[in-house]
């Protein structure tokens, strides 16, 4: 109130109305905060906070995409891992067959039977090599083909890796492994070698020693692929944890900026209500008496 000697009846009323109205306004704001649960209704309530909310929300949206990227990458890599494991097992079987065929005591007809088994394993390997995931070949890179290898064992995929983004820094992780990385490429690829081995078993057992050396090299490549897939799976598993933590952290940060601190808001509301009632009471008391009450 201004420091003035004279008070007019209407200014007294106006002043009371002003203070009551400003309290009502503050109460309405608090009520909005409590009922909506949001501390920031519009940008001007807290421009700095609004900036944080917008940034955090965008980051939350991106992080949830990273989680989806990681999860879908894990599914794909786990499918690849199963196939690569089985490929390794089958190559080991071929190795056993070769060693069996190498023995001088193995008669020709047994070698021929071994050769047939090698042929079967080769077809089986081809099936594994053409394994798919969600309708797309597992080992064909980014090529738009129905399978990674054709019927005669030639790689028809490409060398473009499939990668997925895992964080804001732009880090990407490979979520595939392609055919040549498992089976080797060029003349020494697994399928050609298995054809050669079957032929050697049937006709030229003397070549088997050299074939075994080549096979060991192929097996070593496949083993390497197995280790690579496993390490990529492990990396994604770790990233999954990290990203989940990040999402929780973001949700917490967002909650702190965006949501009403209910306890505080309700407490403040109660204080405001008390003040409001006091103002009304004071108004009623002050406005009532006038000189007229005291004249006869």
């Amino acid at each position: 109130m201004t420091n003035i000697g004279r008070i007019s009846s209407s200014s007294q009323g106006l002043q009371n109305m002003d203070s009551v109205a400003s309290m009502q306004k503050r109460m309405a704001q608090l009520q909005e905060q409590v009922s909506s649960g949001k501390a920031i209704q519009r940008a001007s309530d807290n421009p700095g906070g609004t900036q944080s909310v917008l940034t955090l929300r965008a980051e939350t949206a991106r992080t949830s995409q990273y989680t989806k990227n990681i999860d879908s990458g894990l599914l794909r890599l786990n499918a690849a891992r199963t196939q690569v494991d089985s490929i390794n097992d089958q190559l080991m079987k071929v190795r056993e067959l070769v060693i069996q065929g190498q023995s001088s005591s193995t008669p020709a007809n047994v070698r021929s039977a071994l050769a047939s088994q090698v042929d079967v394993l080769r077809s089986s390997l081809l099936v594994a090599a053409n394994g798919d995931f969600a309708g797309r070949p597992l080992f064909a890179g980014s090529a738009s083909v129905s399978s990674a290898y054709d019927a005669s064992g030639n790689y028809v995929g490409d060398a473009t890796p499939m990668t997925t983004r895992v964080d804001d820094s732009g880090s990407t992780v490979r979520i595939d492994i392609n055919g040549p990385e498992i089976f080797g490429s060029g003349a020494s690829n697994a399928f050609d070698l298995l054809t050669t081995i079957a032929a050697s078993l049937r006709n030229t057992p003397a070549d088997l020693a050299a074939n075994l050396a080549s096979l060991d090299s192929v097996i070593s490549t496949a083993r390497g692929a197995q280790a690579t897939v496993l390490s990529r799976v492990n990396q994604l598993n770790e990233l999954h944890e990290v990203t989940a933590d990040r999402e929780l952290g973001l949700a917490g940060a967002l909650n702190a900026v965006e949501n009403t601190d209910l306890g505080k808001a309700v407490m403040e509301l109660t204080v405001q209500q008390t003040g409001y009632q006091a103002a009304l009471y004071a108004t009623a008391k002050v406005m009532q008496p006038s000189l007229m009450d005291f004249l006869r």
Partner: protein
């Protein structure tokens, strides 16, 4: 002769006290009348007592201050109201604002990047592009609507300013023709002060009152109201810029305060500024997405075409309808066969975070607007309490206090009774003189 003087002295007192009681009654009757200035009889002694004038208790200085501050309040209130309205166009933070729509748009590209053969994800991106473009179109339209509203408001305001100016001119004539220092003239002065407040709140202006009690108003040095007439104002929008000009000359009137100044700022500066900001958001979106599209290849292995057409928030539109046109791959087709690579879609999913991203520009817009609105609200609030302070000062000087009037009423009533008693006493003395003298021994 003293005796007869006594009667007329008592009579003058009876008349004066009655006049004073009338004025107290007038004051009490107008205790709640806006703009009413309390009056007081000025008594002077002569032969008995005279009502020399009926004073209007008001300080001219405070009235000038109140008008100036009232005009400033009108200006600042408009500024803050407009910014609050603009803020509604950008409802942030919320799920319905552009920020959330852009987040969803970029997320859509990440979905495509994960599996470029996923048609549903591709369609989702096109849909979301339409949502974003539609949002920008709507927001621009709403800004234009606000501007249109304020043009209408300005026209209405100028009309009422003209009628206030006319009223002042008419009251100038009435006041110059009436007797100064009477209750009737005082009420004309109150009416003129009210009209002056209305005019000042609308367009500002300099108010002067001369010795003959004529109020003159000038606007930027040009006469708006003279002793008997006024110059009308009108709104002009022909030059693309809205202005208030003199109806008689078509020259632009100088308006630097008042509600009209707030409206003019809104129409000529505030809305165009935020509209232009929104256009930079749209331009960034168009350029970033189209550039990224051009760097990739679509489902059919064809080099990516523009996703958006247009140059501003008003005309941005989605150019592609076929979801296959999203250039998800960054690898050129080999042997006519498109690659399933999703690297380009992955790059597009990050467009919200690159430097110069529409998201960043939009965020700046929202935050700048937030700070501007907050500042305008506070300034308006400060001005409001400043103005109401002056109003309460005026009110404390010119407003009616019931207790005071009651006390006056009592005083005058007692004085009236006393004067009546004087009359009775003289009357009785005369009766004694006339009827009782010369009766000795009868």
């Amino acid at each position: 002769m003293a005796t007869w003087n006594g009667i007329s002295t008592a009579l003058s007192s009876l008349q004066a006290q009655r006049a004073a009681m009338d004025i107290a009654g007038q004051n009490i009757a107008n205790v709640n009348t806006p703009g009413y200035t309390r009056q007081r009889v000025q008594l002077t002694s002569g032969l008995g007592v005279d009502v020399s004038a009926i004073q209007r208790l008001q300080s001219g200085v405070l009235g000038d201050r109140a008008r100036t501050e009232g005009a400033r309040l009108g200006d600042l209130t408009v500024t803050s109201t407009v910014l609050n309205e603009i803020e509604q166009v950008f409802p942030e933070p919320s799920a319905t604002g552009l920020a959330a729509k852009l987040d969803a748009f970029w997320s859509g590209f990440a979905d495509v990047a994960r599996d470029t053969t996923n048609t549903a994800a591709r369609i989702q991106v096109v849909e979301q592009a339409n949502v974003v473009a539609g949002w920008l179109n709507d927001a621009t339209q709403r800004l234009t609507d606000i501007s249109t509203d304020y043009k209408q408001n300005l026209t209405n305001l100028v009309t009422s300013a003209n009628s206030a100016a006319q009223k002042i001119a008419e009251l100038n004539i009435a006041i110059s023709q009436s007797v100064q220092g009477t209750s009737d003239t005082n009420s004309l002065l109150d009416q003129r002060a009210n009209a002056a407040t209305e005019l000042s709140n609308a367009v500002g202006g300099t108010f002067t009152i001369d010795d003959a009690n004529i109020m003159r108003v000038s606007l930027g040095g040009t006469t708006l109201v003279g002793s008997r007439n006024y110059s009308a104002l009108q709104v002009d929008t022909t030059a693309g810029v809205t202005s208030v000009q003199w109806a008689s000359t078509d020259f632009t009137a100088t308006i630097s305060t008042g509600t009209a100044n707030g409206y003019l700022n809104t129409i000529n500066t505030v809305i165009p500024t935020w509209s232009a900001s929104l256009d930079t958001v749209a331009a960034a979106l168009i350029s970033k997405v189209n550039t990224a599209q051009a760097a990739g290849y679509d489902s059919d292995g064809i080099a990516g075409t523009a996703m958006f057409t247009g140059t501003s928030a008003a005309n941005i539109a989605v150019a592609i309808t076929d979801a296959a046109k999203i250039a998800a791959s960054s690898i050129a087709p080999t042997g006519g066969v498109a690659s399933l690579n999703g690297s380009n879609a992955d790059v597009m999913s990050t467009l919200g975070t690159v430097s110069g991203s529409p998201d960043g520009i939009y965020q700046d817009l929202v935050v700048t607007l937030g700070y501007a609105t907050q500042a305008a609200n506070q300034t308006a609030q400060t001005q409001e309490s400043f103005s109401s302070n002056i109003m309460s000062q005026i009110n404390s000087e010119s407003g009616v206090n019931m207790d005071e009037e009651m006390a006056n009423l009592l005083t005058y009533q007692r004085a009236y009774e006393a004067a009546a008693r004087v009359l009775t006493a003289i009357d009785e003395a005369l009766a004694t003189l006339i009827n009782r003298t010369g009766l000795v021994g009868r």
